[in-house]
């Protein structure tokens, strides 16, 4: 049809009038965008910098990242008003990783990550209200309020958590890949960890086995340059995390560029299915401190943080892309952000209203097969329960 031959510029005249109900552009015509930063590779040929995408996809990136950003900011204020307790590790700044990865894979590919898991959960199809409910310890939460910030899961989307012990998720992720290979599935596992975890011995143990047994495991180092308060130059003799796999190929990626992330993950999936494990180092940045109890300013300057925000912010980059390619107008994007903000506010309000778990939930989900076991409360003569 003639329409397909028209340039994007003239398409503007044929676009339907934007309404509040239009969520994403349905235009899936392939567009090719060059990544700003080249890939660096180790023991493999880097993928092309030309990424195939579409208006629809880039708009989805924008909306999804805006939603993730707003969720984390809302979590920040909820934590400060003491509605969220304990640990709360925020992901704002790193959103491009979550959305770029999802664009390259299916919901049958598995993801496992650390405690900085809210946005990964959302990326896997998790609902905002389930996330906020879990953070506030409500029954409606994705783990019924029993997990907390660090233990979000969504098994039906092959999201296996949510892990509090630094580095533990790496062998676990290799185990998920093992199962995929055992079951002869054509799917892969992305196991995400930080620059701090990159020095863990169990990483090298698991990587060795993954390489020996050709497991479809993709190790993704989210290098946000700080392991809690320790900068990479103080914790790693070799901070070239994509090369630390030694005999395992690696790729260094601009982790603030959703399209580069997509390209790298697509490349990694193809690689892992054919050749076994590969390491992706995502160069990214977190605006918040390590957790809500860390101001994030004692080990880095405010100028550094604001500098990254100005030059590399993942959402701003996608906004620029959308405007430059005339996929959306400034007003449309602002409206989208307003919608997202309302979505998040509504979810927070809903979560605030939802009840806390029943006291009997203290004793549920201990075992799948409880076999009439007894369990006790603090005063065992007062609270003694036979597990169902």
């Amino acid at each position: 049809m003639a329409l397909s031959r028209l340039s994007l510029r003239s398409n503007r005249f044929l676009k339907p009038t934007p309404t509040l109900l239009r969520h994403v552009s349905t235009d899936t015509t392939p567009i090719t965008i060059e990544t700003a930063v080249p890939f660096e590779s180790h023991l493999c040929d880097a993928p092309s910098r030309s990424v195939t995408t579409s208006s629809s996809e880039i708009l989805t990136f924008f909306r999804d990242m805006a939603r993730m950003r707003r969720m984390e900011i809302a979590a920040d204020s909820l934590y400060k008003s003491k509605l969220i307790r304990g640990f709360c590790h925020l992901y704002d700044g790193q959103e491009a990783l979550a959305v770029g990865m999802e664009a390259a894979i299916t919901r049958k590919d598995a993801i496992i990550t650390s405690y900085r898991d809210h946005c990964t959960f959302l990326g896997r199809g998790g609902e905002l209200v389930d996330a906020f409910s879990e953070l506030m310890g409500r029954k409606r939460g994705c783990s019924n309020g029993k997990g907390g910030s660090m233990h979000f899961y969504k098994k039906d989307a092959c999201f296996y958590g949510g892990h509090g012990i630094v580095g533990a998720q790496i062998p676990l992720g290799c185990g998920l890949a093992f199962a995929q290979k055992y079951n002869k599935e054509e799917f892969v596992t992305f196991t995400l960890y930080g620059d701090g975890a990159a020095n863990q011995g169990q990483l090298f143990e698991a990587l060795n086995i993954a390489a020996l047994w050709d497991l479809p495991a993709i190790l993704v180092c989210e290098n946000n340059h700080y392991g809690m308060g320790t900068a990479t130059w103080r914790s790693a003799k070799s901070p070239a995390y994509f090369k630390r796999g030694d005999y395992v190929p690696g790729l260094k990626v601009d982790g603030m560029d959703a399209l580069a992330v997509k390209q790298a993950c697509k490349f990694a999936k193809e690689h892992a299915l054919k050749n076994g494990p590969i390491i992706l180092e995502m160069d990214t940045y977190r605006y918040h401190g390590h957790s809500m109890s860390d101001p994030g300013s004692t080990y880095r300057t405010r100028d550094e943080v604001s500098g990254v925000r100005q030059v590399r912010d993942p959402i701003e980059r996608v906004r620029k892309l959308l405007l430059t390619h005339d996929i959306a107008t400034e007003k449309e994007l602002k409206d989208m952000e307003k919608e997202v903000r309302k979505e998040v506010d509504d979810a927070v309000a809903q979560a605030k209203e939802s009840p806390v778990p029943e006291p009997s939930e203290l004793f549920t989900n201990m075992y799948v097969k409880d076999c009439g076991v007894e369990s006790f409360g603090a005063d065992r003569k007062e609270l003694k329960v036979t597990l169902p």
Partner: protein
């Protein structure tokens, strides 16, 4: 049993060789009926793993030397040949790595049987056993269950020194979300391991190296491939009325010997084989003590905060008014395991220790 004989006759027709076969089958059938079949704990464990692997393709074995070497203690002998390298995996010496991989595989629905060459090495992987396996079902509110078995020899062997002799029953059994089993006899080994492999929850299966070679009578029922023992139920190995002796694993044998010695002196001891450390069969424990009024608990491991401490606490809490004597604990000495044979003997419970404690509970002098 007669059915087997009949079948052989039908298969072979009435040729001379088949008659000979039938006759020898009859002979063995007769001895079968007369005595009982015996099986070593090693063969019991091997047959259990074999049968479960045969029944469920999701079950696989992983550990150091489990494949080509046939198992460091030969428990997995023949499995690699029978099932191939896609069901039996030799791992490098990296417990943290391969245990985590096993747990991850269990997250995805496979059923790993992870062998620790001894449970002393499980400490390198203990984070995965506790934080990745035991707690997952709870933290995920039932989304992620972990149908994994961690098995291997536990406790003291003979002369292997301090780093290779620790008993981990108390440590693992204190963790909610785990099931912890400790077989004694061949029947225990078969029934409990099959139950463990079928169980959808993480099970720590504590074997004993010195029991592997011991033979026990085994019933027809226990040899059946569907045989399973319930998890969480203790077994009364010997009934008695004067004092209850409760223990698990190798110490069950010692307790039975002690009961024989006590019987010679007119003390009737009831010996309970826990089989399951978690869940602990408090009902059987307390029912027995309510019957005898005296308790002796025995374990090989370190005395402080041990399994015996939990049993004693349970009895004191629930059956206080039934006790006619203070509760007794016989445990390993409160020292790292020494090497010298005489010191090692002093560091572990002996039959005479159990006898002495039982007599104390009966207010009898030596």
């Amino acid at each position: 049993m007669w059915g087997i004989v009949r079948q052989r006759a039908v298969d072979g027709g009435f040729s001379a060789s088949s008659l000979r076969r039938t006759r020898s089958a009859l002979v063995s059938a007769r001895s079968y009926a007369a005595g009982s079949k015996e099986m070593t704990v090693r063969d019991a464990l091997n047959s259990a793993i074999d049968e479960e692997m045969s029944a469920d393709p999701k079950v696989f074995v992983m550990g150091e030397e489990v494949g080509q070497y046939q198992g460091a203690y030969k428990i997995t002998k023949g499995l690699l040949e029978k099932y191939g390298p896609e069901r039996v995996y030799d791992t490098p010496i990296t417990e943290a790595g391969f245990t985590g991989i096993g747990v991850g595989a269990a997250y995805a629905g496979l059923k790993p049987v992870v062998e620790f060459m001894t449970f002393n090495f499980s400490m390198q992987a203990i984070d995965h056993i506790i934080n990745s396996a035991a707690k997952s079902n709870y933290m995920s509110a039932g989304q992620i269950n972990v149908p994994i078995v961690f098995r291997g020899p536990n406790g003291a062997a003979a002369g292997v020194g301090a780093q290779h002799s620790q008993c981990y029953a108390a440590w693992y059994a204190s963790v909610p979300g785990l099931k912890v089993l400790a077989p004694y006899s061949a029947e225990d080994a078969r029934g409990l391991l099959k139950a463990a492999i079928r169980d959808p929850d993480p099970v720590v299966f504590l074997e004993n190296e010195l029991l592997y070679g011991e033979s026990f009578p085994i019933s027809e029922e226990a040899l059946d491939s569907s045989f399973c023992l319930p998890i969480g139920k203790a077994k009364i190995e010997r009934e008695g009325k004067d004092v209850t002796i409760i223990t698990f694993s190798k110490m069950v044998g010692f307790a039975l010997k002690a009961a024989e010695k006590l019987a010679e002196e007119g003390i009737s001891a009831e010996v309970i084989n826990l089989r399951s450390i978690r869940p602990l069969d408090r009902a059987t424990i307390n029912a027995s003590v309510r019957k005898t009024s005296r308790l002796v608990t025995v374990e090989e491991g370190f005395p402080q905060h041990g399994v015996c401490a939990e049993i004693c606490a349970s009895v004191v809490e629930e059956s206080f008014s039934y006790l006619d004597a203070p509760v007794e604990r016989i445990a390993g000495a409160d020292v790292p395991m020494p090497y010298a044979a005489n010191l090692e003997r002093l560091a572990l419970p002996q039959v005479e220790d159990i006898v002495r404690a039982a007599k104390r509970a009966c207010f009898r002098s030596k």
